[in-house]
Symmetry: C2
Subunit: 207 residues, 2 copies
Amino acid sequence: MPTAAPVLGLRERNRLRRTRRVERAALTLALELGVDNVTVDMICEASDISPRTYFNYFGTKEGALIGPEPSVPDEAFVDEFVQARGPLVEDLMLLIARGFFATEPDRDVFTMRRELYAKEPSLQAVQVARMAGKRQATAELVRRRLASQHPDMPETEARDEAQLVMSVAFGAFPVISRLWIERSGEEAEVETYIHAAIARIRRIVSP
Amino acid sequence: MPTAAPVLGLRERNRLRRTRRVERAALTLALELGVDNVTVDMICEASDISPRTYFNYFGTKEGALIGPEPSVPDEAFVDEFVQARGPLVEDLMLLIARGFFATEPDRDVFTMRRELYAKEPSLQAVQVARMAGKRQATAELVRRRLASQHPDMPETEARDEAQLVMSVAFGAFPVISRLWIERSGEEAEVETYIHAAIARIRRIVSP
DNA sequence: TCACATTCTTGCAGTCTCTGCACTTTTGCG
DNA sequence: CGCAAAAGTGCAGAGACTGCAAGAATGTGA
């Protein structure tokens, strides 16, 4: 089983270089003019790429701005999650986080992105919507874990519970990622923030 | 201060009739062909309205499918929320719910909408995205309440806490609304589901 | 009842996002 | 070098959405 080859072919290197170039152009323009006043054509002109290729790379106009779609965690991780017996929400958030921060962008892009998110909250909505697409799949994962953990739990209750677990995790995620990104200078792990967030939630919903 | 006049002028009645007619046409088509295979032009042809007017009414293609945007709660409610001292998340969810279910659509539309939501999860993403637009405003509300409730709480902590409260509420909301809509035959109040959901969340995040 | 102001609907022209398809270029490899 | 696979590109077009200005419907006051 070949893990990601450490040395990349010319093809991959070109792709990476291009991706970065386009992302930079897109972010620069968006920061300068505002997302709504930037068109795909402008980004393409600035980064010397054809619009058709832009969409092959990023899929949507916002693609270059919000970063790559969280990768689907591979089966090993998923199975681990389903079988694990730790605190459920925590485990789930870790699973999500793992996919989310899998591809580390370069420093500039990272910084600009953070700046842009702060400046244009509408992008957060795009993010949330994209993640919402994975709600079904995620809820199903949680349901599987609940089923294997509590074989006696009624079907419908398990489904409702799974939905809620997923909702809480997805709901809190933007906050966690914001904190993590904002304080990324201090070298704390995501786990720390997840932990803290859950403790807070517990306090919040306590009577 | 005129509250909504009980008797509507011809103008309003026309608008209502039209809205309903268009919503029905849109939902019928979407249920039959799938959202992606329906165009605004088709909806307009089916409901005998001009595309331009369609957008004046609904703003987006999905507008007629997902229903009207939750109305901004009026100042009285907002103030009440800010000053209240009950369980925070619960109060917030009630505030959201109040805006959300303010405009009762007619029976057919309601039923079709429920059906469509079940059939096309992508619509849920649209919903979530639309609600995400109000994140800022909502978090600010919570922050105000926290500030008045705990004057000694540090600024930044209040902001983080507010964000998290808002996230939990927004996160759980789709679940609550789903439950409420699915079981809307049984005449239970939204409060009941909110209550139950919060109790569940408490259990979920408990160690 | 009739003008007049207001509000609403509509057509039109145009911009922008996004897609399928066919064609060319680039890359990997023997 | 030569060939096959992969990737980039141009083009034509569908579809969502907007601003504008003309035309229709509606409310109002005399």
